[in-house]
Symmetry: C2
Subunit: 243 residues, 2 copies
């Protein structure tokens, strides 16, 4: 085992126990580091995509725009997450990716990705695994928008975000730093920004959590879990699943 690992290797390592050869193959993928400023899209809907990205630092969101102009944020990505895997597989992007903060990411050309998959099937499995976890999150998100009211939805979303950040060492049980504006939250949760504001106020008045000045502080974890019907098993597991 190598001593220092990227967040990405750490995440994959949680799925599949990785050999040194596999780890150094990952490091090779991880080489081409780039910096993106906040606000300018990295990938556009419909654009043909030759590369995927691995997020090293900063936050991004993936979203879709309808011709009517309204947008739906599908997911936020945090360090260690894989970006645009689906776009690479389909050779064209079906969604946009926008950096919320300044972002560092490694570019992974499609060719390198496929070569690595062919020569190291276990890595392919690991990536499939990571992609499945992301899909599980999208599914949870779908359930949230379809069947939870605004307050439950917000609570669930922030709990999930907290759990994800904790996994990569960017949060604790009591809270986390969060660069999302109420407008971004609204686009993610299928609400209006006005209503997001009211819901956050309600959560504050109920002494459940505070979201102010880019900081989420959790006051009553049990209360939130109860309200949101939150079950973190889909994010968590104990040790590598494939040895």
């Amino acid at each position: 085992m190598l001593a220092v690992q990227s967040p990405f290797a750490r995440k994959l390592g949680a799925f599949v126990a990785l050999s040194d050869t596999e780890l150094s193959a990952l490091d090779r993928l991880y080489g081409r580091r780039k910096v993106f400023p906040a606000g300018r899209d990295i990938v556009h809907q419909g654009q043909s995509a030759q590369s995927a990205y691995i997020l090293a630092s900063g936050w991004v969101c993936s979203y879709k725009i309808q011709t009517s102009g309204s947008r739906q944020i599908v997911d936020f990505q945090i360090p260690g997450d894989f970006l645009g895997l689906r776009s690479v597989l389909f050779r064209t992007a079906d969604h946009n990716i926008e950096p919320i903060t300044q972002v560092e990411a490694s570019e992974v050309p499609a060719k390198d990705l496929f070569e690595t998959f062919s020569t190291m099937p276990r890595l392919a499995t690991a990536v499939l695994w990571a992609a499945s976890r992301d899909e599980a999150m999208v599914v949870e998100h779908l359930v949230g928008i379809g069947r939870r009211d605004a307050k439950e939805r917000m609570a669930h979303f922030l709990l999930e975000l907290g759990a994800r950040l904790k996994l990569v060492g960017l949060g604790s049980a009591t809270g986390f730093a969060c660069p999302l504006t109420q407008y971004l939250l609204a686009d993610a949760m299928g609400l209006s920004a006005v209503h997001v504001n009211r819901v956050l106020r309600e959560l504050r008045e109920d002494d459940l959590l505070t979201f102010q000045h880019g900081q989420v502080t959790i006051h009553d974890l049990d209360g939130l879990v109860l309200l949101a019907d939150f079950d973190k098993t889909y994010l968590d597991h104990d040790g590598p699943l494939l040895r």
Copy 2:
């Protein structure tokens, strides 16, 4: 190339050009055929899953139940679709799978799946591909629930379903047979059954489509596409993506 292919092999073949060795490996996976009656769940939330399934005939839905009792249908599966891949990867199911009609499906034990993936990386890529297409559908579904009103949502859903069925030879441009009840539609679209009924009536009164007696008939395809802001590129492509 083998002359006769299962719907599943046909679907994967659309993603990756498959050799005879790979096709016969698929046939081996496809062997263990089982029949399930309508209504009794094949997989339960939280249950540990040792097998995935490949749907040969009939319709199923995957859904999640909240402790409050309300349910959200995440997706419907039709012949050729893969069931429970994520459940196998995580070793426990995070959702339920219920047959809507009587169903024939091939059981694929996790062990066989992993072995096939290790020895035939191209098959792993193909499955990753198919899984990505399914995720793209879930994403589109998410956008629908978050940002489309009931009528647009219904139109989009039925257009998508029609396109999928056409791909496996179970529908035409003018319509398709559809065993879904209005209650199932409601649970899928995050609406009440009452409202589903009204929306279907509106679509009928607008001469866009008719959904009666288990049959969807499309009267005005262009009108529907316009209303739903439907873009089928995420379902379609020309020829295998990997040769």
